[in-house]
Structure formats: structure tokens, C-alpha cells
Amino acid sequence: MTDVTNGEGRRGPSFAPWLIKTVATLVTVAVTLLGLLFVTFMIGRVMPIDPVLAVIGERATQAQYDATYLELGLDKPLLVQFGIYVSDVLQGDLGKSIRTGQQVTTDIARVFPATLELATLGTLIGVAIGVPLGVLAAVKRGSWIDQVARLVGLVGYSMPIFWLGLVGLLLFYGILGWVAGPGRVGIFYQGIVEPITGMLLVDAALRGEWVVFRDAFSHIILPAALLGYYSLAYISRMTRSFMLEQLNAEYVITARVKGLSEWQVIWGHAFRNIRIQLITVIALAYANLLEGSVLTEIIFAWPGIGSYITTSLLANDMNSVLGGTIVIGSIFVGINILSDLLYRFFDPRAK
């Protein structure tokens, strides 16, 4: 009996921290999202813009105005309005967009996959080029490679994305004709692929529509490369700085003295130790792209969440703005949690 009780007692503490941590995480997520919603909601309501006019337009009669005012629940106190909104959200109802006339969930299901696809490809490009470039720049410090990496970073930071996007479009689409123009897919291929994930590249691949895949890739590559360039400017700079710190460490000298090859020293030792920091940098870069890059979306007619939220905000379409806020907020929280999990994977101390 005693043994069994003790056994239960031993199992208890090993289970409880996991449970407590999960509950704590969930509570943090819920409080963060609620706070975010509250602030966005209040900003929307105190903005000096009449939400009724956004719905009915400036030519409506006073009677129509009054009817819409009541329909939107604007006669109720602000906190009550917020309470009703949160209760609807908990039931999966984000309300209707006054700008598109459709459910916000439908709108977001349409625009978010477009952003996800673009941001993911952009980040992949940024990482694929930015990390090796940063490592090389650190290893060959002061050499021409280092200078090139710095120049790339400088241009990436200082050049307006709007301008670079237009120049890219002019050069690669307008003059050279290497890539397709704005939009997600050519007019000939619209509506061919039945959506599964909403991400056209993925859906086309899953459905085996390789012609559509090629066309969609030809459309996405330029905006993705542009976003990737901005990511790589940041990622390469940070990688270089992390690597320099490691390369000056004593264990690297020891490794060299032990006669390890340069490849093993750089990638097997120094790089291994910057992975944790890099994950944070890449996660941040990815999250930034997932917010939607409004200007890139406008230039490339890319129907993503960035331009959706911005246009909604200007039209005082608060249901759409709040819906978008929930998505963006969830992304940041989700990426934070994912980073934590990756830390545990790569850093034995975190286990």
C-alpha cells in the first residue's frame, strides 16, 4: 500500500510541471489575445470616424443611418459591445466585413494562405542565402565577401521596398520577361485548382496540376525574392555578428589546434552554438513577413492579409481589423511557442 502511494506520489510531481506549464501557456495566450483585442477594439471605437457611414455611404437617409446604428449595436456601452464581440468570437463568429459583405472568417481564409505562402517562401530564400552569407562574411572577415555581405545588408535596410518592387517588376517582368506579372496566377489558370490549403503552390502540387504550379511559381518568385532579400539582409547581418563572437572563442582555437578541418570548425562547432540565437532571428523575420507586407502586396496585386487589414482600417471596417488582429496575434504567440520548442530541441540545457 505504502509503496503504491509513494509510487503515485512520485508520478504526480513529474506530471504536474508539464500540466502547469501548458495551462500557464494557454492562460498567457488567452490573456495576450484578449488584451490585444481590447486595445484594437477601443482604438476602433474612439477613432474620429463614423462606423455607420462606412456601412451605408454618405448618401443614406437619416432613417437608414439610425437603423444601421442600432443594427451595429453602437447604442450600447463600449464594454458591453466588447463583451458581445468576445462572446461571438468564442463561438467562432468574427462577424461580417462591411467592406466585402462576407464573413470575416471567409475573408481571412482567403487572404491569409496567400500571405503564408509568400512569407514562407520569402523566409526560405532569406535563410538559404542569408545564413551562409553571414557565416562566410564572418569567416572571411574584412575580405571582399564580407564587403559584399555588408553592402547587401545596407541596401536591404535602406532601399524603400516600394521602389525596389517596382524596379524588380520593370526589369524581370517588363523588360526581361523572366517572371509572370502581378497576381497569384495567370488568367488562364484561375479557378482550375480546387483549394485544399488555400496556398496555391501547395494545392497545385497536391492536385498534380504542374502547369498551374509553374505559373503560380512564376508569379510568386519575384515578390518572394523581394521579401526574402529584406529578410536576408537582417539574417546575414545577425549571423555574421553571432559567428564572429564564436570564432573568437577559445574552444574554436582549441578545435583548430586539435587539427580539425576548417569545415568542421565552422559548421560543426561555431555554427552549432549560434543555432539558438538564429532561431530567434529567423522566427522574428518570419513573423514580420506573416503580418503581411502591405506595399509588396499592393505592387504585386497580392491579395494578402497586410493589405486586407490596412484597407479595412482605412474604411473603418472594424470586424475585419479585429479578425486580422486575432490572426496576427496568434501568429506571434504561435511562433514564440514554436521557438521555445525548438530551443528545447537544440539546447540540451533547456531540456
Partner: protein
């Protein structure tokens, strides 16, 4: 393994980039248009009141009467109604519905559909419903006032003997679109007469039907297989939402689109030497104006307003930053409307402006705040006014805000000067006369926010009478003269400084013919286009 994957990925990227499909031109039976279509909120003709939405509606829904796109000046013509008669007392119009028109659903168009469509437009009570309710049609009386007596006869009973042209012009607007009653009612939810369904679906008897509308992205239209008229050359129409003028221009130059509808003056100029592309100018109905709040003591002085009108550099603006996009126009009816006044009595004359100001009660002028939204062309105009009015000694400040902020202030009658644009709601002179020159009750309590005269606190009992008289004048020549006189008076005495009328500059492939954006009176018509 890792190395081979990277190599494969790089090879894939290179092959796709180099071999990207490049089409020199769109297919001959397909029209591809780049346009800003993010204003579409609904496709329901009983609710739609935005520019891009009206463009769609005109090509999908037929009306009792409509404009011929190739002869807009001829005015309304029979469409679903083959003829009409007006009763002796002028209050009852009896339409005879033509045979042979069929909805995209396959159902024939009958007078019952017309009755249903017009009744539901009144009953839904959405923003454009005023176009019908101004004739005394209301939720309480539609069963008596809008009546199909048989499958081919529709009787419309009005509360006054309005000018027939006024009524029929109103029926050509989007809200006059006739929908298939059976399809709408099959999709009715909670007594909405199919409103929710018709927001995203169309079922008209026009040349096209909407296959797919993705908000802020595209509208795809195919032929209505049951369209009774000649088969349009363009069997498929795709309108893509392209926000940027420069992007539209690139697509046009590459031949990926047939028509670019939002080109900036710089891009229009840039297209001048491009082979295979042309730019077609068309006068539209939008007016650009400034107006002075009559609650402000200085601005209520007619001589101050006269001074401001003379101190405005109309030609200077239209020849520089507005070049090609706006033409000088100074009356409240846009050119091509019945009775539009083309006289432009004001031009930039600083001496005349100073003389008028000297005669006013404010010879030194004073502080003036111009409310303007943060759009490029309006900001440019506001800055020009700031400069030239400043030469009179006025201390001009620009209050810049978003469209909604500026409009809120305007509707609350809190502005000094409002710089804005106004487009006609329906193709009858009353559409503008009924807002620029009517104000039955100038009190704050009246809350007539839809009337521009009220927004500027301009009390005009006599002019209101004249404007109301014009809508019941059935002699078209007399009616025209009434509007001409009204505009002359308005030009002289009103606190409105009407400055410009919009010109739409559409870039298109050289082979595109018959592209008519709709002039000042209607919207674009895809079914007559060839290429």
C-alpha cells in the same frame, strides 16, 4: 542528400524563371481589365452603390429602359420594356414587357420579375433606395404602386406627375436592375428576399453572369447563354484588382491586359510612344468643387465667396497637375447631362478677386480652414487654393484627414471650406440639382446630411421651389431651360465653387474597339467591345 536537394531546388527555380510563360496578348474572345475594384461591397442591384459594383451590374442585369452604349446621347431606350404609356394625370406609367428575354437561370423575364425587383429594392431600404422612394414609393404602398397586372404588363403609380424623363432616367440606374424572382426567393434567408445570396451571386438577363467574385482580387464574368441579344465578341471578362497605376501600365505594355483603367497622368504620358497601345479619353460625371459653410460669418458674405471664386486658378490646375484628368467646368450639372450649362464665368483674375473682397465686409480676408482628404489630386488642388487665396491676404490652413474623417466634419457642418468631389447617382439632372440646389429646412435639427446645400447651411427657400418645379415639368425643352437658368443663378449666388469635371483616361490595346466607360450617365458596357 542535403547537397543534392539544394542543387535540385536551385535548378527548379532557374528552370521556372527562365521558362516562365509569357503571353504577348490575351485571347481574342477574352477581355482582361485592370481596375481598382476594392469598393465592391455587394453585387445585389438593390444594394450596390459603388462604381466598380455598378460596372458589374450593368453587364449582368437588364433594366426596363437603358442606355445604348454606342449612342449615349440618345438617352434611355427600350430594353426589358418594349413600350410605355403615361396616364392623363401623369401619375401612372404602364410598361409592356418585351418577350424573349431570359435570365441566366433559364427562367423567362416577366412583369412579375420586374414587380418583385422594384418592390424588393424599396423594401430592402438600402442606401440607393432613395432613387425609387423619391417618387412616393414606400414599404407601405409598394403592393399598390408597383403592380404586375399580367405577365407582360407592369404598372407604376407615383405620388405626383413627375417628368417622365426623370422617372425613366432613374430606372436606368443600378437599382432598376431586374432579378430573377424564382432564383432570389429560392435562396431567401429570414425574409431577406435573397439579399444575402445576391451579394455574391448574380441572376440577371444581361449579356454576362458573374462566375466568381473574389473581393479585392477579381471579378470573372462569362456569357449568359440565354442572352437574347447578339452574342458579344468578348465571351469572358476578367477584371483584376490592380491598385498601382505603374503596375497597370506594365501589364498593358506587356500585353497581359487589354484595358488599364486607373492610369496616372505620368503613366498616360509614358504610354504616348508605346506601340500597340492607345489612350482613350472619356468625360465622366464626377465634379470637383469647394464649398463654404454659411454658418461662418466671413464665408457667408457673398462678396468673399465671389473673391475666392475669382482667386482660383482653374486653368493653371487643369493644365498642370490635373492635365488630362479634369477639365474646367463650373456648373452643378456635368456636361452631357440634360440642361448642363457649359459657361465658365470665373477665371483666375486677382484684380477682380481683390475688388470683390474690398467690397465685402472683410477686406483683409481672415483665417480660412480647408478640409481636404489625403488624396494626391485633392491635396494638389488644396495647395493651389492655399497659394492663390493667400495672395488675397487670407490665412489659409489645410486640415488634412482620411475620407471618413473629412466627411464626418462636413456632415456635421463643422468645416470652413470643404474640398470634395460629387458624382451623379442617376442620369437625370435632378440627381445633382436635388442636392446642390435644394434645402427645404436649414435647421440643425433637420439633419438633411444627404443635401450638399444643407451641409453648407445654405438657406434657399426660393431656389428649392424652382428645383422642385423642374422635376414635374414634362416639356423636356422647358425643363432643360429651367436647369440652365437654375445653374446660372447657382453659379452667381451659391457658396459652391464648382471647378472641374472628370475625364477618364483608359489605356488599352490598339485593337480594342468600342470601349465605353459609360460617359457621365452610365457605366461600362463590355458586350459591345471587340478587339
Amino acid at each position: 542528400m542535403k547537397k543534392s536537394f539544394v542543387a535540385a531546388a536551385v535548378a527548379a527555380i532557374m528552370s521556372v524563371s527562365v521558362a516562365a510563360p509569357v503571353f504577348a496578348e490575351t485571347p481574342p474572345n477574352m477581355l482582361v481589365i485592370a481596375n481598382r475594384i476594392d469598393d465592391i461591397k455587394t453585387l445585389d442591384p438593390g444594394e450596390s452603390f459603388e462604381f466598380a459594383g455598378s460596372d458589374v451590374s450593368r453587364n449582368v442585369y437588364e433594366k426596363l429602359v437603358n442606355f445604348d452604349p454606342l449612342d449615349l446621347d440618345a438617352g434611355y431606350q427600350p430594353e426589358l420594356a418594349e413600350s410605355w404609356e403615361i396616364s392623363e394625370d401623369g401619375k401612372t406609367i404602364t410598361f409592356t414587357i418585351a418577350e424573349g428575354h431570359v435570365f441566366s437561370s433559364g427562367n423567362p423575364v416577366t412583369a412579375k420579375d420586374a414587380e418583385f425587383s422594384l418592390r424588393r429594392a424599396v423594401l430592402l431600404d438600402k442606401t440607393p433606395s432613395f432613387i425609387l422612394t423619391q417618387f412616393g414609393l414606400s414599404a407601405d404602398n409598394v403592393e399598390e404602386t408597383i403592380k404586375a397586372t399580367d405577365d407582360r404588363t407592369l404598372v407604376l403609380t407615383l405620388d405626383k406627375p413627375y417628368a417622365l424623363s426623370f422617372v425613366l432616367n432613374c430606372l436606368t440606374s443600378t437599382i432598376g436592375g431586374i432579378v430573377d424572382m424564382a432564383s432570389a426567393m429560392d435562396n431567401e434567408v429570414d425574409g431577406d428576399m435573397g439579399n444575402d445570396w445576391l451579394r455574391t451571386n448574380t441572376v440577371g438577363s444581361g449579356p454576362y453572369k458573374v462566375v466568381e467574385w473574389k473581393p479585392n482580387e477579381s471579378v470573372l464574368m462569362d456569357l449568359n447563354p440565354n442572352f437574347h441579344g447578339d452574342k458579344p465578341a468578348m465571351e469572358r471578362v476578367i477584371v483584376q484588382h490592380i491598385q498601382e497605376s505603374a503596375t497597370q501600365r506594365l501589364q498593358l505594355e506587356r500585353g497581359d491586359i487589354d484595358v488599364a483603367r486607373n492610369l496616372s497622368p505620368e503613366d498616360v504620358a509614358g504610354l504616348a510612344d508605346v506601340e500597340g497601345v492607345k489612350v482613350v479619353d472619356e468625360l465622366r460625371g464626377r465634379l470637383m468643387y469647394f464649398s463654404a459653410n454659411q454658418k461662418k460669418e466671413m464665408l457667408a458674405d457673398p462678396k468673399v465667396i465671389e473673391a475666392l471664386k475669382f482667386a482660383t486658378d482653374y486653368a493653371g490646375m487643369s493644365d498642370s497637375f490635373l492635365k488630362g484628368q479634369y477639365t474646367v467646368h463650373q456648373a452643378f450639372l456635368p456636361r452631357t447631362f440634360l440642361g448642363a450649362l457649359e459657361e465658365t464665368p470665373y477665371s483666375y483674375d486677382l484684380d477682380a478677386a481683390k475688388a470683390a473682397l474690398a467690397e465685402s465686409g472683410f477686406p483683409d480676408c481672415g483665417p480660412i480652414k480647408i478640409s481636404v482628404r489625403d488624396a494626391q489630386e485633392r491635396m494638389d488642388i488644396a495647395q493651389s487654393l492655399q497659394n492663390t487665396w493667400g495672395q488675397l491676404g487670407c490665412d489659409v490652413e489645410l486640415i488634412v484627414g482620411t475620407g471618413a474623417q473629412t466627411l464626418d466634419r462636413y456632415r456635421a457642418r463643422e468645416h470652413d471650406i470643404y474640398l470634395g468631389a460629387w458624382g451623379p447617382d442617376y442620369p437625370d439632372p435632378n440627381t445633382n440639382a436635388g442636392t446642390f440646389a435644394i434645402n427645404p429646412d436649414n435647421s440643425d435639427e433637420a439633419g438633411a446630411t444627404g443635401l450638399l446645400a444643407w451641409r453648407n447651411a445654405w438657406a434657399i427657400p426660393e431656389m428649392t421651389e424652382t428645383t422642385l418645379a423642374a422635376v414635374v415639368e414634362n416639356d423636356t425643352e422647358k425643363r432643360k431651360q429651367m436647369y440652365l437658368d437654375l445653374q446660372r443663378e447657382h453659379q452667381k449666388t451659391s457658396p459652391f465653387g464648382i471647378m472641374f469635371q472628370q475625364i477618364e483616361q483608359n489605356g488599352m490595346g490598339a485593337s480594342v474597339e468600342n470601349f465605353v466607360a459609360g460617359g457621365a450617365t452610365t457605366e461600362v458596357s463590355y458586350w459591345v467591345i471587340t478587339k
